[in-house]
Amino acid sequence: MSDDPLLRGFEPPVVPARLREDTLAAARAVLAAAPRRDPWARLAASPAARLAWAASVAALAAAHVLLPRDGHVEAPPASATIARPDPELASIARLPRIDEHALPAPEGDRS
C-alpha cells in the first residue's frame, strides 16, 4: 500500500461481498440499454417525420412556383365609394343644424 511507516504493510479496505456483482450488473444494464438520442436525432430517424417534412417542403415549393409573385388582391377604386354613398349612412351623417337645405324652425315654435 505505502512505504510510509504508518501505513506500511496494510492494504486498502476489502470490498464488501456482492458489491462486485451488484455494481457490474448495474453497469452492464446501462450498457445494454439503448442509447438515448436527442430529439433532433429521433426526428431525423422517424420515417413519418421525414415524410411529413418532405411533403411540407414539396407543398412550399409548389406554392412558390404556382402562385403569382405580385398577386395581391386589388382594392376597389376609391371613386366607387364616393360616387354612390350608402343612403342610410348619408342620412345619419347629415346633421340637421348644419345642413344648408334645412329650413329654420317657425317663429315661436320651441317645442
Partner: protein, 191 residues
C-alpha cells in the same frame, strides 16, 4: 513546490493507473467485459476513497455503484480521457462529497467502526494494528484522510490530487503532511 514535496515522500505504486488505459479503450469500443478488468484494477482503491471520504460503508457502496454506472453511461467519452485513474478517482470524490451532503441530516456522529485499512493474511497482530490504524484514520478530517489515501494508497501525485479534489497542489501536499503528523501523534502509544 508539489514536486519538491513529493521527492521527500516514499515511492508510490502507480502501476494500476497505467494498466487502466487498455480496459478504458476497450469499454469505449463497446466491450462490456472491460468493466470487470476495470473493477479488478480499481475497486479497492475506489471503495477505499469512498469509505475514507464518507466514513460510512453504506454510502461507500452506493458511491462505487454510482461510479461504475457513470462509467458505463459515458463509455463513448472514455477514449478521450488522458488519465483514467484520475478520472475514476475524481468521479468517486464527487460522488462521495454528494453522498456526505445527502446523509449529513441523518448522521449525528462520525462512524469509527469502518475498517479503513486491511491487513493481508491472517496474522492477528497485523489485524490488531490495522484496526488501531483504522480508528486513528477515522479521527482525521475527511479531506486530510482523503489526501492520504490518494497519495499513499492510490499512488496519485499532488498535482493529480489537486485535479481530483479541486484544491491547489500545495494544499493537497499540506493536507497529506498534516494528516500523517496527526496520525503519528494519535498512534504514538501503539507505535
Amino acid at each position: 513546490m508539489a514536486g519538491h514535496l513529493e521527492a521527500e515522500l516514499p515511492a508510490r505504486d502507480v502501476s494500476w493507473a497505467a494498466a487502466l488505459r487498455a480496459p478504458f479503450d476497450a469499454l469505449a469500443g463497446g466491450n462490456s467485459a472491460a468493466l470487470e478488468a476495470i473493477w479488478d484494477l480499481s475497486s479497492r482503491r475506489l471503495y477505499g476513497l469512498a469509505l475514507w471520504r464518507t466514513g460510512c460503508e453504506e454510502d461507500a457502496r452506493d458511491v462505487v455503484q454510482e461510479v461504475f454506472v457513470r462509467l458505463a453511461s459515458r463509455r463513448r467519452d472514455l477514449s478521450g480521457i488522458e488519465t483514467p485513474h484520475v478520472w475514476l478517482l475524481a468521479v468517486t470524490h464527487n460522488a462521495a462529497v454528494d453522498a456526505v451532503r445527502r446523509s449529513a441530516r441523518r448522521r449525528t456522529e462520525p462512524l469509527e467502526s469502518a475498517a479503513h485499512v486491511a491487513a493481508p493474511g491472517s496474522d492477528p497482530e497485523r489485524a490488531t494494528a490495522a484496526s488501531n490504524t483504522s480508528r486513528a484514520l477515522a479521527q482525521l478530517p475527511s479531506p486530510q484522510r482523503e489526501a492520504v489515501l490518494l497519495h499513499h494508497v492510490a499512488g496519485c501525485s499532488f498535482r493529480e490530487i489537486a485535479a481530483i479534489t479541486g484544491v491547489p497542489a500545495f494544499t493537497a501536499a499540506s493536507r497529506c503532511r498534516l494528516a500523517l503528523a496527526r496520525l503519528r501523534r494519535l498512534m504514538g502509544g501503539s507505535r
